[in-house]
Amino acid sequence: MTQWLTPEEWQVVGLSLRVALWATLASLPVGLAVAWLLARKRFWGHALLNGVVHLPLIMPPVVTGYLLLILFGRRGFFGELLAEIGIVFAFRWTGAALACAVMGFPLMVRAMRLSIEAVDRRLEAAAGTLGANPVMVFLTVTLPLILPGVLAGAILGFAKAMGEFGATITFVSNIPGETRTLPTAIYTYLNVPGGDAGAIRLTLISVALSLAALLVSEGLARRAARHVGGV
């Protein structure tokens, strides 16, 4: 198998997994918090927040990528601020992770929000009468009940990150070993004569990874659902 892919291609696969994993892990807590706010709280700017979260789903990816470049690029407002504490996104794999996280965010929040809205709040009230404070109610009742939705959201985010192309290439370009993920590598192969074989190999890897992610998420969801059971 090591013979089957070139070292550069192995690098692409490894980088893609790293980018997608970080994008998913970093956006998970933020996504859960935003999903919670949207599902449970009514506040001024609710509709605005909902809109902003969903924007990357609706806007052309190249626009999202360009906005990221403006905000998080070397001269960008956040980019300069973060550079001072040593966090640089521009033309780094971290930037690719940021682009993937932003693009996957609406999918993640949507899945989580639906599961939070499906929770029977009377169970939370019951936990309260048994002495659990709101934080403990969340940790011992709400979180276990929404776990299937959280997992589904995470897997969706991960899958989106593995396949993200437009925003990534716009924001952090296509630098081998730094920002060249599976989709951009396939794109690159297709642009050079005789690159078909490489493109096919990476495409097969891509299909296999997507399928594995799907199977894992199905399995986790089924286990969680069995655990949660009916009332």
Binding site: R122, A125, A126, T129, L130, A132, M136, L145, V228, G229
Partner: protein, 356 residues
Amino acid sequence: MLDVSIDHHQGDFHLQAAFTAGAGLTALFGRSGSGKTTLVNVIAGLVKPEQGRIMVDGQTLVDTARRLFVAPHRRRVGYVFQEGRLFPHLTVRQNLRYGRWFTPAPERRAKFDDVIALLGIGALLDRHPASLSGGEKQRVAIGRALLASPRILLMDEPLAALDDARKAEILPYIERLRDEAGIPIVYVSHAVAEVVRLATTVVMMEGGRVAAAGPAAEVMARLGGLPLARGEAGAILDAQVREADDGYGLSLIATRAGDLRVPRLGLPVGARLRVQILARDVMIARRPPQEVSALNMLPGRIAEIGEPIGAGVDLRLDCFGVAVLAQITRRSLETLNLKVGESVTAVIKSVTFAGR
């Protein structure tokens, strides 16, 4: 000891109620929509009252005048919900231990094994709520509330979602709870049979107000104003078995009003029980009748004659200090020329076993 006094609007509904609940079981009794559930939700802290005060064992939980509101999880008020509300992701054992976890160590009075035994749920511990029957779920829900060692226990129609067989399965456990748990129980119900069987004290709710309150036998024996279907009204008597079986399949029980013979009791001599004598099962005779088939007759004095309802009229008799209700026709009332204060004999056609 629970002391409640609140004034609260919910939409068009105005709840204005005050009552106290001491030892034993206090039934909040009334039609649907009379404010019973809102009242217990206020006690549990799930509803914040506009005005009022709630005290438990001397601690103030709510006092709107002092802007005091103790959060539900700090009240140590147990709540058994109509639908059980067991945590579906936890086993029965984990459900039962849930509240105990949050109870301060010195206040963990309830013993796991005792509660399991009291409710007969030892065989269910490793199962998940989804696999339990309705009656089992409700017993686990009661156990879960008890194991948090609450200072009072609220029960909101815990039997309403169950069929008659399941109800019959749980009622004895609630009786034991009342007699053995040692905490005041507030029990919401609109079912007369449950109230008759379980209540030590009755608080009757009507349109968001307390219509009557007092010892169960007293409140249930009041004429008129009872939100009861006719035919459900009747006196409650506490009794003790004197002779178990006389060869005819009858037991002799002693009440303060006199001895009664009841069929097929199956209880040992000395056992305590509660019986109900429905008003429609009581005939009135001026003198003790001779050669009749009825086994039970109680001498008494007419204490009150109710307002006529249709062809009928209700009487309340005082039989050695115990109220016995009788439902007769207006025609009989006139023919016999019955007056308050006169001595009569209550001829009882049937006595219903109402609980232990």
